[in-house]
Subunit: 286 residues, 2 copies
């Protein structure tokens, strides 16, 4: 059995590697677009390292990678490894932290906002959390502003394939969890067309749980670029763009009103810029 310390190392290393691969894959899309359209510049990720400097109590940091390009209007691919103590108020909300408030958490998080309103926004996230217990969590969900049944089908099919490799019940369970989670109660509507969402994953087989998260990461790199490529270069209208800006408003509402990751980050003294990097570059409300 891998030691606790070793597990943290392995997980952190993986998130770092995945960040690199996602960035590389998205930059390739930008570069291909540049070549095809004879443009001078293509989007490149800008990386920034940040550290939490409340030493002893709150430690760790992360690397934010952000790209603004011709295809990706704004995309953030963030990793972080943080440790510390939950506040009195917050620890009751976290499994295994009721008695001992110490935590360690590492993860990767991606949100895309595209120039073309035809290309859905995607969110992807996996994390490994250690309190007195330890578990994996994460998920991915697709938010088109112009609905396309094939994209939805393709997205869910790919996720189902990964899930089924590990447990025949995962897909159904995690799909439902996703539908329930990415729901705007105040509007009585789903954020997008769903995906999967899971938390507290600890089957007792760490290697298997970790491998599931890795496969999700790999699947993400396969899934999203193929959706993007379907629409890159296709003409869209001002009206469709405006529709996208309104849809983004609801995305902001979800993230600030409901999202646990955002809440977790802001409540644990995380890096505000990194946490709010998922917000769209521009937004409209009616």
């Amino acid at each position: 059995m891998t030691s606790n310390k070793k597990r943290k190392e392995i997980a952190s290393k993986w998130f770092k590697k995945l960040q690199l691969e996602i960035c590389r894959s998205f930059e390739k899309i930008e570069e291909d677009y540049r070549k095809k359209n004879n443009l001078k510049n293509s989007g490149k990720f800008i990386k920034r390292t940040w550290r939490r400097n409340k030493k002893n109590i709150q430690g760790g940091g992360g690397v934010t990678a952000i790209m603004r390009g011709n295809v990706f209007e704004k995309v953030g691919v963030n990793i972080s490894v943080v440790k510390g103590r939950f506040s009195k108020e917050f620890k009751m909300e976290i499994r295994g932290a009721e008695k001992r408030a110490e935590f360690w958490a590492a993860g990767i998080s991606v949100v895309t906002h595209m120039q073309s309103p035809l290309i859905p926004t995607i969110h992807f996230n996996t994390r490994y959390i250690v309190t007195t217990e330890s578990w994996f969590g994460g998920g991915t969900d697709l938010t088109p502003c112009i609905y396309n049944a094939n994209d939805k089908k393709f997205f869910h099919h790919k996720l189902k394939t990964v899930c089924n490799k590990y447990n025949k019940n995962y897909y159904k369970k995690y799909k439902k969890w996703c539908d329930n989670y990415f729901f705007l109660k105040h509007r009585n509507e789903m954020r997008g067309v769903g995906g999967i969402f899971f938390d507290y994953l600890n089957t007792g087989n760490w290697q298997k749980d970790f491998s599931f998260c890795q496969d999700l990461g790999r699947a993400f790199i396969e899934i999203y670029p193929s959706i993007v490529k379907k629409y890159v270069g296709k003409k869209w209208t001002i009206k469709e763009k405006e529709k996208q800006l309104f849809k983004r408003g609801k995305y902001v509402e979800f993230n600030l009103l409901y999202d646990r990751g955002t809440r977790f980050g802001l409540m644990t003294g995380g890096n505000t810029d990194a946490i709010l990097m998922s917000l769209p570059p521009n937004v409209k409300w009616p």
Copy 2:
């Protein structure tokens, strides 16, 4: 002594009257601007009545008034009179509702988003709430995107004058409350340049407390238009406009992450469109 029922009537009637007067005053600014610039159209408020239709349990409704003009990019002046029962989770947060979850609430709320980045955003709100207890609450705060010391001074001076008419301690107390309330913890910065904020106002003299709220409403109609007129017609740059859009992003963050009014509305099954009408028409995040 005025009966409970009569008080509700008087308060509701006042909010209605104040809505009318604020709308009239803002439309006059639009009309003056139209004439001066020989424009064809000026902004006019569009009113919509809405009702909560969960009969028996949740009743009441409101009137939203929204204007999109040449000076006011988007301004909402909303009144509502609602009653019902708080949810189990929410009632513990409300004074006097711990044992009996019934509530009655009426109020007016104004938020402006201006075309010119030189003109501060203002928020104004007063309300009368009845549970097993009853009280007035409200406040007003100014959020410039380009700081001007004179505006701040003028704004605070006017508020102090109203406060001092009622109680020499109000201004200091309510100013501090405002500074603490309109604070973005995750950014460690104030929303704007402050103002006043108060809640649970019940001195035992209903008429006096009500009169204080009325005077605040009247002061608002005097204060804001004179700040607006100072800047109307003055040239601004694209750079200043962009600064305004980023500032608006923080306004959205405050409203969705912290604002009790927003939370109160969404948690009590209020009208989502009316509650979120305070959100800016367009926003940027870096």
